[in-house]
């Protein structure tokens, strides 16, 4: 089974200049707010996790041509259909035709503040010592997994240094596949610009990513 993400943009050329906007400008249509709220409310039903939603978004065929909230909308619709919570026909018509499926929970208006304040921490108690210490040299794996991953293409195969240890966190790759949390040590790995962008005029730049232990090899 192949897996194609359209979201791995780091270092890609040709996207043009950034267009800054003032601080208060976040939405450009009223429906964007509804999509945001629907996505959060449906996420709270426990029918999927955040890594599954990221996987649903980044594999949308129209990702590059869509606005960010269009991507959220399409992915939400896709997840709702895939889980059998509503059919494409129901979503298109706006009317229920089959009875609802049970969901783990429904977010009530009165509980929103408490649920947001609690959040969804991903740190778990460590069950094994960290393989790498601060300052250790590591190389990022270069194989491309056939599933959702959080190892960006621009650092694959590159060597860096462990900048910080973040503790043990839910492993996105496993969580996206529904294989459980499988917590792994998470590291901040720092790269020199010459390693990432050889041959380019130096800018005095270092770049870091946060990477789970399975992404790393001894350099």
């Amino acid at each position: 089974m192949s897996y194609t993400t359209h979201a791995d943009l780091g270092g890609q050329p040709g996207h043009g200049p950034v267009r800054p906007e003032p601080e208060g400008e976040l939405f450009h249509a009223a429906w964007e707010l509804r999509v945001l709220a629907l996505t959060l409310a449906m996420g709270a039903t426990g029918s999927w996790n955040i890594d599954m939603s990221r996987a649903a978004r980044e594999t949308l065929p129209d990702y590059a041509a869509s606005s960010y909230y269009e991507i959220w909308f399409e992915a939400l619709q896709r997840l709702v259909e895939e889980r059998g919570l509503a059919s494409a026909a129901e979503i298109a018509s706006g009317h229920m035709r089959t009875s609802p499926r049970p969901v783990a929970r429904v977010l009530r208006g009165a509980d929103v503040a408490a649920v947001l304040a609690r959040g969804s921490p991903t740190e778990r108690s460590a069950t094994s010592p960290a393989r790498f210490a601060q300052g250790a040299r590591v190389r990022m794996r270069c194989d491309v997994p056939r599933h959702h991953t959080r190892l960006p293409a621009y650092v694959r195969g590159r060597a860096g240094v462990i900048g910080r240890l973040h503790g043990t966190h839910v492993f996105a790759d496993a969580n996206a596949l529904g294989l459980g949390e499988q917590p792994q040590w998470l590291y901040n790995v720092v790269f020199d610009e010459a390693e990432l962008w050889p041959g380019r005029a130096p800018q005095g730049l270092k770049v870091s990513v946060d990477a789970w232990e399975p992404y790393l090899e001894v350099a």
Binding site: G11, P20, E21, L26, L38, Y68, V103, T122, Y154, Q203
Partner: protein
């Protein structure tokens, strides 16, 4: 659709009598089905929209920065355990569960991006701006940050190193900009007003009074 966003100037979506577009209709249909099936409580949607439109935004982060500027002990706490230090001011939770504060100095400037999606510290900065989620920012922040800064009208000395943090996991980064000169006599509230959102992402610097 029981709520409308408050008015902002110059936006198409404020034209109350304009015809509904295709996306309006599609989103409305999805919302109707999900509500009718009982998966979604309309009151929760209203509360979520109200929270992210009016309650949680970059003024939260500005208060964190101003406190760090005036209180050395708080600054030390931020370095040691940013999640706890920020929570002591009342900010935390969704998309800010694991915070790291990174401090700009004369010799190093920090810039935050999420090249893979749109990870952003919601409790202190609110929802990300459109440009933060856009392909130009996500592609170039890690390869040409000085060019990105130029798009924001910011030029740093060549001797200032640039440190880019790509938020690829669930750790969220808040930039503590440098305190501008000439602010010695200002109190925390006045200082917070100098701290714009972009200065806490790293695409800007704090304003001078």
């Amino acid at each position: 659709m029981s709520t409308r966003p408050p008015h902002k100037h110059g936006h198409e979506y404020d034209h109350e009598h304009s015809e509904l577009g295709e996306m309006d209709l599609r989103v409305r249909a999805l919302e109707s089905v999900l509500t009718e099936k009982g998966y979604v409580d309309p009151a929760a949607l209203d509360a979520l929209i109200d929270t992210y439109q009016t309650r949680i935004g970059p003024r939260n982060g500005a208060r964190v920065v101003a406190r760090a500027w005036v209180d050395a002990e708080f600054r030390e706490w931020l370095r040691r355990d940013a999640s706890a230090a920020i929570a002591s001011l009342g900010y935390g939770g969704r998309q800010g569960e694991h915070m790291v504060a990174v401090e700009n100095t004369a010799s190093e400037h920090n810039l935050v991006v999420c090249t893979l999606c749109s990870c952003y510290p919601w409790p202190v900065l609110g929802l990300p701006p459109t440009w933060y989620k856009s392909a130009p920012y996500r592609s170039r922040a890690v390869s040409d940050p000085r060019g990105v800064l130029a798009d924001f009208g910011v030029t740093l000395p060549e001797t200032t190193a640039i440190r880019v943090w790509d938020s690829t996991a669930e750790v969220r980064y808040l930039v503590i900009p440098e305190r501008p000169p000439g602010t010695e006599g200002l109190g925390e509230t006045e200082l917070a007003e100098l701290v714009g959102r972009d200065s806490m992402i790293g695409t800007g610097v704090a304003r001078r009074p």
